[in-house]
């Protein structure tokens, strides 16, 4: 058990969506390596409050890496230096005494900053609302085992469904593209037999909404996969490109969906 450390934080402070932001330098003293990164921020905030100043606003909830709420870029990496680890699960033992740590919010036009490190990720919800579902109104279901699903597909679907909607992929992408998030949902539902009826409409509408939210486009940098805390794979992006091509070029536009080409 190594002993406490002192760190220098460079934190982005921004009063609200309208105001300009700037970096503020803060000291974090007596930090135990067993603390999580957010617990370190708690300690700093306790100090700030006692001085009557405004504590650092940051998003967090479950603090066990599953809700996808925590969101901050630590030393240039979304969720910090540890692979497959959310900021709330990152522990201070990944740093050493005297380190300087830069903390920034997710940066994307589609994720406007609301305060300090807190951003608005409503765009993700709107993308899901546009088509990220299987239409199965309550009560319409048949017996669950009427529909055997090859284990491999079920497992692949699960891997894609593991996405926690944190937005680190967007934050990491040099183009601020949401392709990994969107493709994860397109793949999860597209890999399952239940998802087939809406498969083409789904990818069409979700991509349309993704573009409408003004995310960037994918030029295959692969940063998203590298900083995804759930290891969602680039294969999903390829799968979505495939489906989209099929949906827009091969499939006849369904009467239901507007537009087409």
């Amino acid at each position: 058990m190594s002993h406490d450390m002192n760190l220098t934080l460079q934190v982005w402070r921004q009063k609200d969506a309208k105001s300009e932001g700037a970096f503020q330098t803060l000291q974090a003293q007596g930090i135990s390596p067993d603390m999580s990164f957010l617990e370190m921020l708690d300690v700093v905030n306790e100090g700030i409050i006692k001085e009557g100043k405004d504590p650092i606003a940051f998003d967090h909830d479950c603090r066990e890496g599953i809700c996808g709420t925590c969101s901050m870029v630590i030393n240039g990496r979304p969720h910090g230096p540890k692979e497959r680890t959310t900021a709330c699960q990152l522990h201070m033992r990944s740093f050493k005494d005297g380190d300087a740590i830069a903390i920034e919010p997710w940066r994307a036009k589609a994720f406007p900053v609301q305060k300090d490190l807190v951003v608005d990720r409503g765009a993700f919800d709107r993308i899901i609302a546009a088509g990220g579902f299987i239409t199965a109104p309550t009560g319409t279901a048949q017996d669950a085992n009427c529909l055997p699903i090859p284990k491999e597909n079920a497992d692949l679907a699960m891997d894609a469904a593991a996405c926690i909607g944190c937005g680190a992929c967007v934050a990491a992408c040099p183009n601020a593209s949401a392709m990994l998030f969107v493709s994860a949902k397109v793949s999860h539902l597209g890999l399952l037999p239940q998802g087939q009826p809406e498969r083409m409409i789904r990818v069409r509408d979700m991509v349309a909404q993704m573009d409408a939210e003004e995310f960037g486009t994918c030029t295959n940098h692969g940063e998203c996969e590298a900083s995804c805390p759930k290891g969602v794979s680039l294969e999903n992006i390829a799968r979505m490109n495939r489906d989209y091509l099929k949906a827009k070029v091969v499939e006849r536009p369904p009467v239901a969906s507007s537009g087409g080409f």
Binding site: G76, E235, N241, Y244, G259
Partner: protein, 224 residues
Amino acid sequence: MPKEASFLASSIGKKIVMAVTGIILVGFVVGHMAGNLQLYLPAHGGEHPLDAYGRFLRTMLHGAGIWIARGTLLAAALLHVWAAVGLTRMNMAARPVPYQQTAPQASTLFSRTMRISGFVVLAFIVFHLLHLTLGKVGPFEHGKVFQNVVQGFQNPGISGFYILAMVCLFGHLRHGVWSMLQTLGLSHPRYNGLRDRLALLVALVVVLANISFPLAVLAGFVKL
């Protein structure tokens, strides 16, 4: 729900245009490189194989062939650039406030410089056409392809620019070829390793061969 964008207006649509035109362009560059290897063949019957090759290109299908080829290439290049510009616009708008600090994990120098490398290649093509097709640069004699090439490359300035352009082309292909496959949805855990090696192979072969031409001339290994 938004009225869905048309294929060409959509982000993925543009990407696919990028990829499809990419295939055409890559195909051309590879073939063209192969054709140019004839530079190393000895002259026979008074005419250098490269000249014969040039004549063949200009006369195939009673002269129609080359125009079909040129048409396709031009269209591909224009669409490619059009898509590139469109994507680049979207991407720049998508992050108004930049990061103070970034720590790239997976992206490469090549992936991050596609725009620059692409642009240099574009500039190269223009220059190259002026040089060897229209003969607006330096000594040029219509039909004397071999002679034009050798005389051109004897000028270190010209050779230098060719080599620089080829370095950019390397970067562009190195990322571009695998990117193209990914964009077209060609991904499978079993073969994904291959995708990357293919990109490296294409980029290396094309560029090394292309660079060898000016060097061979400068070294006096190929002369009139």
